[in-house]
Symmetry: C2
Subunit: 358 residues, 2 copies
Amino acid sequence: MKIGILGGGQLARMLALAGRPMGLDFLFLEPTDNASAGCLGQHLQGAYDDSDMLHQMAKQADVVTFEFENVPAASVECLAADAPTYPSAYALTVAQNRLKEKNLFRELGISTPQFVAVDSLDELESAISVTGLPAVLKTRAEGYDGKGQVVLRKTSDAADAWRYLQGAEAILEAFVPYDRELSIIAVRGREGEMAFYPVSENTHREGILHLSMSRLDDPMQKRAEKYIRQIAETLDFVGVITLELFQVGDELLANEIAPRVHNSGHWTIEGAETSQFENHLRAILGWPLGSTALLGFSAMVNFIGSLPEPTEVLAISGANFHSYAKEARPGRKIGHATIRASNEESLQAKLQQLLTLI
Amino acid sequence: MKIGILGGGQLARMLALAGRPMGLDFLFLEPTDNASAGCLGQHLQGAYDDSDMLHQMAKQADVVTFEFENVPAASVECLAADAPTYPSAYALTVAQNRLKEKNLFRELGISTPQFVAVDSLDELESAISVTGLPAVLKTRAEGYDGKGQVVLRKTSDAADAWRYLQGAEAILEAFVPYDRELSIIAVRGREGEMAFYPVSENTHREGILHLSMSRLDDPMQKRAEKYIRQIAETLDFVGVITLELFQVGDELLANEIAPRVHNSGHWTIEGAETSQFENHLRAILGWPLGSTALLGFSAMVNFIGSLPEPTEVLAISGANFHSYAKEARPGRKIGHATIRASNEESLQAKLQQLLTLI
């Protein structure tokens, strides 16, 4: 069986590392020449909308998927005409657009930070009266890791912020003074069956995920599951889907969805019975989903811009070292480490050791 | 870092699957054109004693190893002259020869089945009086999975048995009416540090490993550790080493060593804190060894000659499906499944389900 993936970055790499043991083959469509996933399958080098390449992929692959949401929905639609393709172009379209996803949350009765669509400076100025300040102006499409976002602290920031977005379709969101950032990862199979990972508690630095911890019996688990189930069912989603959340007091607000495996679930490789990567493959293949139960307590720390010495990481008992074989650049995710421990205290102690290395 | 491996079969494949997440690259020297490991690194196609290929490997690889003991010790010696190469040619030479390894056991005071070196039909006939009958005549070199072996049940079998071996240097071993077949896998680092996996209890079918179970707190653990420590230290071994054992009543007899990762340790991929494959890589790289502690209770079943449907295997909760991407042929190992469970009873129930599929 051959899996075609739009994208050849670290998420495609980890999908292939989960699939190779099961005898699956991989094919990546990726424009750059030194793809992180390239060593694990056939690399079709080309743009995500190159129709020849898409045709080749649909012809060769038994099932097609994508590793991230910044691929054209039209390409996914084109692939779906010739090969089983999951998630659907429709689900992708919603996830690509901050306004569509927020509207979906609202329709489903899922709380979100206050938001207003913004298409002009005038609209931005009046939107501020709805969201209050501070607020975050975001492009509706193509933003990730804090890119395409600007914070407004006072009304007079509006003009600069609007210029910064260069006329892109935007959304203004109330700035949420959250107590915790959480995410929940779920997987939904072709027949609609679902499984949910325990929520992750996340910490960002400069807009990029820094630390995720698996949370056993989190008080927000049930509500997070309910939300992501509603969303996945409405989208008739197949594969792994992630919902990012803010907790404010006892309130749980939906921030955004990612129609894919997620950085906050990398700890599932060692810390869950079945990793998010294997479960995504099982789902899109129509195979039985694997257990999402925890194996002990886990935390994951991203390596951003540079890698520590593997020997220093691996000297911590229970640590696993992951490198994405990517060139080091400031602000670029190039690896991560996971710590797995049998109890919370031991996890915290090992995590502190790990954090001294980065 | 690039690891060169002599051999490109499933053991090389699983080594690469353990090393790729850590950012390691791989290079395989393998004569066949559709190597099981080929999709996970660069494939140098050539004989194990092709001096050009060996030169290329030593030049490109940071560390060299081998996946099985049927590679020429001279090739390992040649590689070791130009690149760090583990285990050593000396350790390989001992492991390649049943007489040398049995003599080593004897020197170290490790019990073994009775054995006699045999170089002629006359010697075979007199050896029978030492071992008694039944006995097993084995070639000293190159045997695996029951190949190069013949059982003698009566004195008159000697002539046929000797003809079967076609004049190869041989060893006659007493046939052991064992209660259990066990193996212990250990890893030894460059500085001599060691870690030991819990023993596996193994069942063979027609000379090929069928089933391995991880054994927590086995009464034979301590003695098995003592034996393998003595052997590894005497050989100044670096990497993963396996000792196969027979238990007869309260006696523990050493059968043979494998200077490598071993089929009876495939359950360590999911069932131990660190797999035998990752620990072999850590050892030969001079990296810290990983914990060999169990994660629950595990069993592994080999797929020989054909694969079951992955969907049927994966429908068993806690099952993992492994395919080596090898062509199916009668008697050929082409995959395995592991079951991991939180207690012995659950393991047995799931294992029975799995066994109905093969």
